[in-house]
């Protein structure tokens, strides 16, 4: 086992030369570290800004071509004294089998620059996690091995953050949470304008997304059979767009608490059979669109269930639209408040539409 431990950002490896790196903290606040490992059971760790001491702009990379490798990058800073803000960049690239990667980045709120964390794993049984706190962060996980069981986890707190997961392989698991990550010093004052993008191409996927705050967007695409997608939102003006092009899919979307004016769009397409789309919206206002389509033939037996318990003040505040074709589809709409609008269109045989207002 090879073990590399790089403490503080004042350490230069493999071409990331910095004459100021011997001064701690760095006078120019730019630190670079790279680890390259080949073999089995490798562990690579980069920790920039140890003990919460300012080291500013960090650049860290770990490249592992190994079996059962473990790579971790920590770039931590709160209450930065670097004028004009700073940005950290972290990359972990892993190939071969059963690798694990994690990146933790913490920087200031109201930063003018962004943190960027990227994990690329072309390995079966991949496990990746990214935690970011602060504003203008971008976390990207790409797991492209087509064999099995990729796991991706992203937690972000702050404003204008983006979480991106691209996943292939069966039995994939995705867990993205925005607005809840609070590791390290300080607490998050607010979270809004964040975005989640998930694209999964494997069978039996299990995707969970949680967003708390305002004006978030969750855009989820899932193309394998038996996929399960769960989205929870709390806040206002949030949008969820789910496209599931497979069979036996399950989509459950809930906006909870005092949520305000959240929108949901669910499309389950390509000879959709046996799929379920369940939307629950509480608080104030809410709009839901569900399409369950049989684009080939022989599809059906789908369920669309919408429960909108929110309060409205005018026409168009609470809207549910459902479009189903094929056969034996069920559509249930329950709208508790006034000014509710339900529109159900079903084409085919043996459908059931039930509206309660």
């Amino acid at each position: 086992m090879k073990r590399y431990l790089i403490l503080a950002a004042s350490f230069s490896v493999l071409g990331f030369a910095s004459a100021q790196a011997q001064v701690f903290p760095s006078a120019t606040h730019d630190n670079s570290a790279r680890i390259t490992q080949t073999g089995n059971l490798n562990v690579g760790t980069i920790n920039q800004a140890v003990n919460n001491i300012i080291n500013g702009q960090g650049n860290a990379e770990i490249i592992q071509s190994s079996n059962r490798g473990d790579a971790a990058i920590t770039q931590t800073n709160a209450n930065s004294a670097v004028p004009g803000g700073f940005d950290n960049t972290a990359l972990i690239d892993q190939r071969r089998i059963r690798n694990t990667a994690s990146i933790d980045q913490i920087h200031d709120y109201n930063a003018t620059r962004d943190n960027r964390a990227t994990i690329v794993q072309i390995t079966p049984d991949a496990l990746a996690s990214i935690g970011q706190r602060g504003d203008k962060n971008t976390a990207t996980i790409r797991q492209f091995n087509t064999s099995s069981t990729p796991t991706a986890s992203i937690q972000q707190n702050g404003k204008v953050n983006t979480a991106i997961v691209r996943q292939e392989g069966a039995n994939g698991f995705v867990d993205v949470r925005q607005g809840t990550f609070d590791a390290g010093a300080g607490i998050s004052p607010e979270t809004f304008n964040s975005r989640v993008e998930v694209d999964n191409l494997g069978l039996n996927a299990n995707i969970f997304v949680s967003q708390i705050g305002q004006t978030h967007i969750a855009d989820i695409n899932e193309d394998g059979a038996n996929g399960t997608i769960t989205v929870e939102m709390e806040g206002s003006f949030n949008d969820v767009i789910v496209t599931q092009e497979s069979t036996n899919g399950t989509v459950e979307i809930a906006t909870m608490g005092t949520s305000f004016s959240n929108d949901v769009v669910v499309v389950q397409d390509i000879s959709d059979v046996g799929s379920t789309a369940r939307v629950t919206q509480s608080g104030f206002y809410g709009r839901s669109e569900i399409e369950q389509l049989d684009s080939v033939a022989g599809g059906g037996d789908n369920l669309a269930d919408v429960d909108q318990s929110g309060v409205a003040s005018g026409v168009g505040n609470i809207v549910s639209t459902i479009l189903q074709n094929g056969g034996l589809n069920d559509a249930f709409v329950t709208q508790a408040g006034a000014f509710s609008l339900s529109d159900i269109m079903q084409t085919g045989v043996g459908h059931t539409a039930t509206v309660t207002q």
Binding site: D239, I241, D263, V265, V267, R287, E289, E291, G314, V315, G316, V319, T321, L323, G327, V333, Q335, A336, A338, F339, S340, L341, S342, D343, I344, M345, Q346, T347, G348, V349, G350, H351, T352, A353, T354, V355, T356, Q357
Partner: protein, 165 residues
């Protein structure tokens, strides 16, 4: 880009109502037997109601303050059930079914409710219950072996057309 392919608000919703209306436009000849079946304008003005108090309950923008349900089904053996019991200003329901062996079941409580049902095909069944004042029920069935059951309590208006081939 959000694929709002069929969200209906504002003008789009009005288009939906027009669509439902146009679904019965094909039988305008039968409508002439009953006069105008488009009772909703009269509903808004309150002229359909025997009790003057109704007019004050229904403002000019009454149509904009209802719960609304639109169900459109094309095919065989479909079932539509609409329960509107919680609307303070009256509910509005349109059920259009094209095919055979369809069932429409509408239950409305309160004042100023409106339901318009179109069933085009054989062996269709509709069951309507309206409770309260000033409710309006418009029903059109086309085909054989049709069945309709209507229960109304209060000052209700009803228009039913059953036309065989």
């Amino acid at each position: 880009m959000k694929p709002r392919r069929f969200i209906q608000t504002g003008a789009a919703f009005a288009a939906a109502l027009m669509l439902a209306g146009s679904a019965v436009a094909q039988v305008s000849g039968e409508d002439s037997l009953l006069g105008s079946l488009d009772l909703k304008p009269q509903l808004g003005s309150g002229t359909l109601f025997a009790e003057p108090a109704q007019a004050s309950e229904l403002s000019e923008d009454h149509a904009d303050h209802e719960n609304t349900s639109v169900v459109r089904q094309y095919g065989l053996g479909n079932r539509a059930e609409v329960n509107q019991t919680s609307s303070a200003y009256g509910a509005f329901a349109i059920v259009s079914q094209y095919g055979e062996g369809n069932l429409a079941d509408v239950h409305q409580c309160g004042c100023g409710n409106f339901v318009d049902i179109v069933q085009d095909g054989t062996a269709n069944l509709s069951e309507i219950t309206q409770t309260g004042r000033g409710n309006v029920f418009v029903h059109r069935q086309y085909g054989d072996a049709l069945a309709v059951s209507v229960t109304q309590y209060g000052g209700a208006q009803i228009a039913i057309t059953q036309t065989g081939p």
